[in-house]
Each structure stands twice: as C-alpha cells, then as structure tokens.
Amino acid sequence: MTSQLKPDHWRSAVKYSPFYNKIKEHDYVNEWHRWAEYTTATVLEDTTIEYFAIRNSASIFDITPMSKYRIKGPDALDFMNRLLPRDMTKIRVGRVAYTVWCDDEGMVLDDGTVFRVAKNEYLLCAQERQMEILRRNSVGFDIEYSEVTDEIAAISFQGPCTCKILKNMGFEGVENMKMFDLRFFDFPGGEIMISRTGYTGDLGYEIWTKNDQAELLWDSIYEGGKDYAIRPIGGNALEIARVEAGLIAAHVDFSPANETVRPGHAKSPYELGLGWLVKPDKGVAFNGRRALIKEKEKGSRYRFVKLDVEGNKTACNAYLFDKENGKTIGHVSSTAWAPSAKTNVALGFVDMPYGEVGDTVWAEIYYQKELKWNKRWAKCKVMKDPAWNPPRKTLTPPADF
C-alpha cells in the first residue's frame, strides 16, 4: 500500500478517486455510495440521460475502485493458466481475456478481465478482493503479485462516439484496436494503457493511468469529446446497460464462492452460462478442473437464462415457473427495462433441464403503483443473445462520425 495507515485512520475511512473532483463538477444530486473503500456516484444528474450517453454518444464511468492486481515473473503464464479455467496460452501479449475463476469445487469465486501487458506480466481486474486467492495460488510459481488498486486510476469510456473522441485526442491507430485488444499510448506523464473492453455490451474502451495523470486525462477527454455529448455517469446507468447486455455481476447474479455460507448457493461457470470459458482439456490442473469435469459428466444444477419478459413490468425478484401457477423452477437475479432494445429484460436461473433457448417460462411479477401492490403473470422467452448486442460492439474500425 502506498500510504502508511495511522492509528486514527478511521477518521477518514473513505477514499476519493483521482477523478473525484472532476466528477463532482458534474454532480447535481449528490447521490453517492461506497464501492470498496471508495465513494462512487450512484447518479449524477438523471439515470436515463446518463444511460443514453452510453448508447448514444460517450460516457465516462470511474472504475478506479475495481480491485486491480499485477502479476509478473517467469511463471506468470503458467500461474494464470492454473488460476483460470480459460486456456491462457491463447491470450497473446496485447490481448485481454474475460474470465471467471473457481475454487476446488468448481464454484465461481469471481469474474473479471485479465490483461496480458507483457510476455511475463498480467493485470487482473475484478470486482472482489483477490489477494488471498492469489497468495494461495502462488505457491510453487516464480512470480510476484501485488495489489495496484490504488496505483492505477481507471475510467470506462463507453459509447458509439468513443473511438472518434480518442482519435481526436491524438491516440493514433486506436481505431484499429479489436475487441479485447490493449495498447499503450504516449501521454503526458507517461504511457497510458487503453483496452477495448467494457461492461456495457457496446463500443467502448477502458483507460488506465497513473493517479497523477487522471485529471489531465479527464480534461483531454472532455476536450476531445466536447462536440459529442460526452458525460460522466453514475452506477445506476451502468447497471441498466449491463443487464441489457446480458452481463453478470458478483453479489447480484452469483455469490462469490469464498463468501458463500449456505450449502449449494455458489454457482459454477456452466451454471452461469460461461461454460465456454472452461477448457478441461487444456492439460493444466486449473482450479476447479476435476469438479468441473465431473459436473460436465453429471450435468449442472441450474441454467443461466436471459429472458425477454412479456409486458412492461420488470420481473424484479420474481420466482420463475414452468407454467402459470405451475412449479417453481428458478428465480430472477437482475432486471431492467432496456431502453435501447425496448425489451423487458431479466437475467435469472432455472433448474435443469428447463430454460433451453426458445423455451417459455413464467414469472410471477409483483409491482407497485401508488403504494398499491399488484401481481401479474408474465410469459418469458429464453433468449439466445443479449437484448442489446449491436454490430458496432465488435466492428473494427468503428464507425467515424
């Protein structure tokens, strides 16, 4: 850690991101919450307006509070390949991998992104804290690992105009970056890292800088984006975008296995619909391998489903049934009215073998109008793709404006 904590550290226990002052300039409503040690904006002005910055122009979301770790050393690749179920030999330098990682029962500890910044160096970026997991994984590997959460300031820069703005800022060749590419660019104060990654299911980038570059970066993004309706956003807007894009969140759609107390409440990658990440045959004893092989043989308990819910009432906290008034077969974990897809989206879990793509399940929805509660049954169709999955997400080079 950078600063030595004093015995009265609790007097000021909340951290402020290097972008805090800049964000605060755009804050009208003072709605903030804590994210790890940091304070972070829930809403800055209006959730819907902020949401449309993601889908329509360019949005800035401060992801400095994400847990970030640096892993380097001669065994870095082997280490990552044992930690993660993905085949990390396929992730070249300059590439990013989305992945989950598991405990020895094959249950998901967390998901996140892994940046291969050099041959023997990775950055791991996750929602939850990972030091203890890295520590127990490090035995027998010639690597060093350290937490760099407080050393790297980062923003998620998402929206159809983001590439254009980055070009305006002088990041030459940024338009050639493919999805999950990462690249270093010159910037005053030292190189900054840009990755074509995000949590919105749209065109977007994440930008990683040193703390003392943060404000300058902010200013230059604003300068570059002044003609493109750029705006900072709060967590609520992002939440809509990620549900619309069918992306899962820790503590919402799954409970990290190392924090799960009740038997059977953790979930495996297969149960989260992320079986494609698991490579049992990669020839490495990655964490969870044996349990996952067994699960593959015996079958999973649950299936993750993306639902198109009939009507316009979100299926918040709803149980799922095989038919109206039928048998309970699952529950909804995330919901949103998707403003761009114009779909009533729900993410959730059903018992196997229910919920194949194209199947219909039923949700019992409770909703409130003027303090009066109503109930309605809604037909839900299991979707193959996320509600929002535009070609521009992957199009390279992205459209110019």
């Binding site: 850690m1 904590l5 004093k6 015995p7 009265d8 550290h9 609790w10 007097r11 226990a13 804590r34 790890a36 040690e37 020895d104 029962e105 804290r129 990972q130 030091m131 203890e132 997991i133 520590r135 190392n258 924090e259 799960t260 107390v261 009740r262 038997p263 059977g264």
Partner: protein, 538 residues
C-alpha cells in the same frame, strides 16, 4: 399440604426460563433459590453505593431471541442494547480495533498486517458458515446415538442429513474445525500474531485449555453465534445489567402464575420408589411436587442434592467424572470516571466495546501453563467492558462500572483455598496489568470486587466457578452433556430433570438448556408444547 406440578431448584436464567415456559403451559411452578436474590450468575447487584454490578456474566448476545419473544420479555422490561467496538492493546503501545464497518476493519487489519486483510474476509465467512450450521442445533434435544427409539433415530437422521448437505469439502473442513486447536486454526488464515491473539481469546475463555490445545477452535463459535435483532455476531447487553434478564424472566414466570421463593436452599431432592416426590429445604421444610427440575450443575445435583442410592451407582460415577474445573476469575470495579488508554486516539468510540490486553499467542499459552500449576496467569488475558458507556442506568452520572473477566485463574491456589490475602494479590496483579496501559486507571477506582472461581462456587454454586456449569470439551457436548443417560434433560429417577448449562447446548447466557428441558417435560406430560425451536435465518 400444597403440591406443585414442578419445583425448579435454582433461579439462574435457565431455571427461570424453564419455569416460565412450564408456567406458561399451565403448570403450577415453584422456583426455589438459596440466595436472597434471584438470577444465579445473571444478576445486577448493588455491592457499592448506587452502582449495579453485573458481577458474574456480563453479556447477553447468546440469549436466544426465540425465548425473548415467546416469553414476552420486552413487556417485562428487558431491553438488550447493541454495542460496538472493542480492541486489543499491544505491548508496543498500539491497539488493534474491532470496527463494525467492513472497510474500516480491513484498513485496521492492513495497518497491522497487509497480507492478512483478505484472509480476514475468508476467516469471517468460514466462521459464519459454521455458525449457521450449528445455531439450529441449540434449541433441539440431542439424540442418543445408542438408542433405537424412533425419535432418536429421526434426530440422528436429521443430523446426518445436515452434515451430508454440507458437501464433501465443507463437511471435512467442519470436522477439522471441530477438533483442531484455535492456534492451529488461526495459523491457517493469518500471519500476524496480534490478529491471532485478538481472535483467540474467545476460544479459551472459561475453558481449561490453552490456545494450542486441540478442540478449542470451535469454542470461537460462541463469539460469533450471538445475535441481536437478527444481526448475527452482534453483541449486546441488557439495559440495567444482567439482572434485567433474570428480572424479566421472573416477570414472565409470575405472569403465568409461577412462584419464586428466595432464601430457600435445597438440602435434598426427595425420592420415593424411584420417583421424585419433592424437595427438602436446608431448614428442614419439605415441599411436594411431582417433578423436580435441577438447574444446578450435574456434579452438585447428583453428588450433593441426591442420595447416592437414589442417583444410582452409574450416575454417581459419571457425575464424579464430569469435569467442571474453574479457570476464570473476575474483577468488578466501580470507577470515578472513564479510564484513559494511551493507545487509543482521542475520540475513539472503541472503548465502548470489550477490550483485551494479551497481544501474542505465546502469552496465552504461558498463562495456561501457570494455571496448570495451580497459579493465576501473571500476564492474564482480560476481557474488559465498561457497559456504563452505553447504559447510563448502572452507575451514577459520570461514574462507571467496569467488568473485567480474567483468564486464567485457578479454583484453588496451589491446592490452597482462596483467602482475602490471595484475592488481593490476584486482584492487584490484574489492576497492575490494566494500569500499564492506562495511567489514570488506579486513581479512578472507587471499589473493587474480586472473584475467584471458588468465591463464585461458594456464592452461586457453579462447581469450581466453571462458568459453563461444566467444561465445554469434546467429551461433554451434545449427547455427552453432562453424560450419556442424562443428556436428554432427564435425571435417573422419574420426575427429575436438568435444566442448567450443564446440559446441551451448554453455557453462556443462552436460555436454550432451560427451554429445551421445558419442552421435554411437557412432552413427558403429553402437554402440547409452547416452547419454540430455532426460527432460523434462511
């Protein structure tokens, strides 16, 4: 001559809980108490001017919420107040605080040992897992594993399923957790000796074991199993001192027509033809009843209150073997003000919680070694609490009451009975230990009550002052508590029951043994039960 349905011997919190549930079920109940006050070890006593001393037990977070609610104790004046804070003072002049906010706690751990920060989270969830597993067993009668009765087989099946549902990894982890020493258990999580010391105290409190003795890790659960208003792991104490619990329980008992007699020490439990007929008091008076519930520990019940021929050879032998060695002492102190602890930053609220002064594992273990040789620990583990910082009703304005639990303290000093001189030496050692960290502490002391296990035994009848009415060791748990044959709250003769912490699930101001015992009595009487089982958290 009046004949009661039930006589309960001893008005400790379990006796009162038991009596109250029985009275609520319509039985004619009498609770007899040898002292001139009720509550046993759950008391608020006026021992100095206007101070109220919780002079035995001092916390109420284990008290079962189901009992609180079903006996309507709030109506009878019980208010359990949550408190926060606490810390361990270090020899180097620093402290390790207990913060309720997760992020602040992480920073505090990081301040002392960065590698342990995430481990702390893992540790916390592991403990939560075991707590959740164990808690539902508190308000249940343990099965007899040697029995073929449908009821016992059902309960065994229930337990078996519960264990099996944990899954392979967790079941084996639990088996390990249950048998390992707290020191070895903490070693698997933490590097920092200070953090281990901060945690280990609650695993040795009241036991006759050291932190490296196998079987101490699970005692940690007592620290986490408590809850206040559904917040598992929260700590609280009753407004007005621990006596508020016994007061409210007595209120509930009386509301339902039960009676209490103080100054009524029992000499013998009367038995005729293998059946209880009542009790004979020390003054010779005989009171008749169909059933007698002893809230006294197993040793005193079977070796003191019963004729050996009534108890039977087997029970006498088992009672003799029942282990109830005392290992704790206590100082209750009236203070003229709040002592200042130099390690705490100005304005710290942590002093409202319970704090400790042993900062390394070796010191605990050495303290234990001294106890094994019949001496108190020269560098004792202290669990100190100043409830008046939260509850203004226990001392005059601006004055404070401090309870100071001392581990280890022998029930006899090198084989000698305690006397005034020894008590003073023991007390001075504790006071000096605290004064090392608080320069103004000694000047603030207005009155001190020093209690060794023997003093507590003589006054309220806990054998050797063992705070759990018998050691909570692996051989005295579940169907072995107090011992096989009496572990389902029934004594060796018809109509005799046990209700104290000497039965499952054991000590702590929990009320569960008393409630479970009442449930068994009603079952025997074929009266539909009003005693709650665990209401669960999921």
């Amino acid at each position: 001559m009046k004949k009661y349905d039930v006589i309960v011997i001893g008005s400790g919190h379990n006796g009162l809980t038991n009596g109250a549930f029985l009275a609520k079920a319509g039985l004619d109940v009498l609770v007899v108490e040898k002292n001139d006050y009720i509550g046993g070890a759950t008391v608020s006593r006026n021992l100095h001017k206007d101070w109220k001393y919780s002079n035995c037990s001092y916390l109420a977070s284990l008290f079962r919420p189901e009992i609180y609610r079903h006996l309507n104790l709030a109506k009878h004046g019980l208010q359990v107040v949550t408190y926060n804070g606490g810390f361990t003072l270090t020899d180097s002049g620093d402290y390790l605080g207990s913060f309720s906010d997760h992020e602040v706690m992480r920073r505090e751990i990081r301040r002392h040992s960065p590698v342990d920060v995430d481990a702390y989270d893992r540790y916390y969830h592991q403990m939560a897992k075991w707590c959740r597993f164990i808690r539902p067993l508190l308000l249940r009668t343990p099965p007899d594993p040697t029995s073929f009765k449908p009821r016992d087989l059902d309960e065994l099946k229930f337990l078996g399923k519960k264990f099996f549902d944990l899954g392979q990894r967790d079941l084996y982890d639990f088996m390990k957790f249950f048998t390992v020493s707290v020191g070895d258990f903490l070693d698997e999580f933490f590097d920092s000796d200070l953090i281990k010391a901060h945690k280990a105290g609650s695993a040795v409190v009241g036991t006759n074991l050291g932190p490296r003795s196998p079987g101490t890790a699970y005692v940690l659960l007592h620290h986490y199993m408590g809850d206040v208003d559904g917040a598992v792991g929260a700590w609280g104490f009753p407004r007005g001192g621990m006596g508020a619990i016994s007061g409210a329980l007595a209120g509930a008992l009386q509301e339902h027509g039960g009676e209490i007699r103080i100054n009524a020490g029992v000499d013998k439990i009367m038995v005729k033809r293998g059946k209880v007929t009542g009790v004979r008091l020390e003054n010779g008076e005989e009171i008749l009843a169909d059933r007698v519930v002893s809230n006294v520990d197993a040793k005193k019940t079977f070796l003191g209150l019963m004729e050996p021929e009534d108890a039977g050879e087997k029970v006498v032998k088992a009672a003799k073997r029942y282990k109830s060695r005392g290992s704790s002492g206590k100082l209750n102190i009236a203070l003229n003000g709040v002592p200042e602890f130099t390690a705490l930053p100005k304005g710290s609220e942590l002093i409202k919680g319970d704090f400790h002064i042993v900062d390394n594992m070796e010191a605990y273990e050495r303290g234990y070694d001294e106890w094994k040789d019949g001496m108190w620990s020269t560098n004792p583990y202290l669990d100190i609490l100043i409830p008046t910082l939260t509850d203004p009703t226990m001392a005059p304005p601006g004055k404070h009451f401090m309870t100071c639990f001392v581990q280890y303290c022998p029930s006899k000093v090198k084989g000698q009975d305690w006397n005034a001189d020894l008590l003073k030496k023991f007390g001075d050692n504790v006071i000096d230990s605290i004064a090392k960290y608080s320069p103004n502490f000694k000047d603030l002391i207005e009155h001190v009550e020093i209690r060794s296990g023997q003093v507590i035994d003589n006054e309220i009848g806990l054998t050797e002052g063992n705070i759990f009415q018998g050691e909570l060791s692996l051989n005295q748990l579940m169907f072995n508590r107090p011992f096989h044959g009496c572990a389902q709250y029934r004594g060796p003769v018809n109509g005799l029951y046990l209700s104290g912490s000497t039965t499952h699930p054991g000590g702590g101001v929990m009320g569960a043994p008393g409630a479970n015992s009442a449930r068994e009595i009603l079952m025997d009487m074929k009266i539909s039960t009003t005693v709650p089982e665990d209401e669960g958290d999921d």
